[in-house]
Amino acid sequence: GAGVSQTPSNKVTEKGKYVELRCDPISGHTALYWYRQSLGQGPEFLIYFQGTGAADDSGLPNDRFFAVRPEGSVSTLKIQRTERGDSAVYLCASSLRAGHASGYTFGSGTRLTVV
């Protein structure tokens, strides 16, 4: 597609529930990133995929968070047993290759609210 698409745009869930957030990167972009932006903060790195594999998942806050990219295109961020502190905007970005000078192309994000 023309840009990075994230669905849903908004998600409200109850504490303790499981959620999945989807990211469709720009066609042909091999690198995909998940970031999380809490209120008043800048985007915070969660995980980076190069192709199908998670090259760096060091930003995932704990084992409730998991992400996959089985065919090297669409990625899903999965959060188990959600907590109120997980409320944030989850941003997905893609780039032609890692380290490209023009940086990432971000999606509009999924605003997750845990009540």
Binding site: G42, Y48, A93, G99, A101, G103, Y104, S108
Partner: protein, 112 residues
Amino acid sequence: DQQVKQNSPSLSVQEGRISILNCDYTNSMFDYFLWYKKYPAEGPTFLISISSIKDKNEDGRFTVFLNKSAKHLSLHIVPSQPGDSAVYFCAAPTSGTYKYIFGTGTRLKVLA
């Protein structure tokens, strides 16, 4: 670990004047530093970058300066326009070439 600080949470500038947004980082890296712009309800949009081997990069109304000895970046917008009103994030590279640390952003308001 790399840390990025944008110490001015907000800035107001009159239309036509210069806007200067500042950013400090802690770790020198041989890579690109980035500036992003973000409008409400949209994802950040890449604005301009600068290589760590340069001290200036200009693109139209936007110029980024890099002072490596001071570990300081600044973004100059001249002349400022009302459409420039947005939150601006600087981002510095950390381990690897793919991972960026973002500042907390500066909200720029350009007054007509």
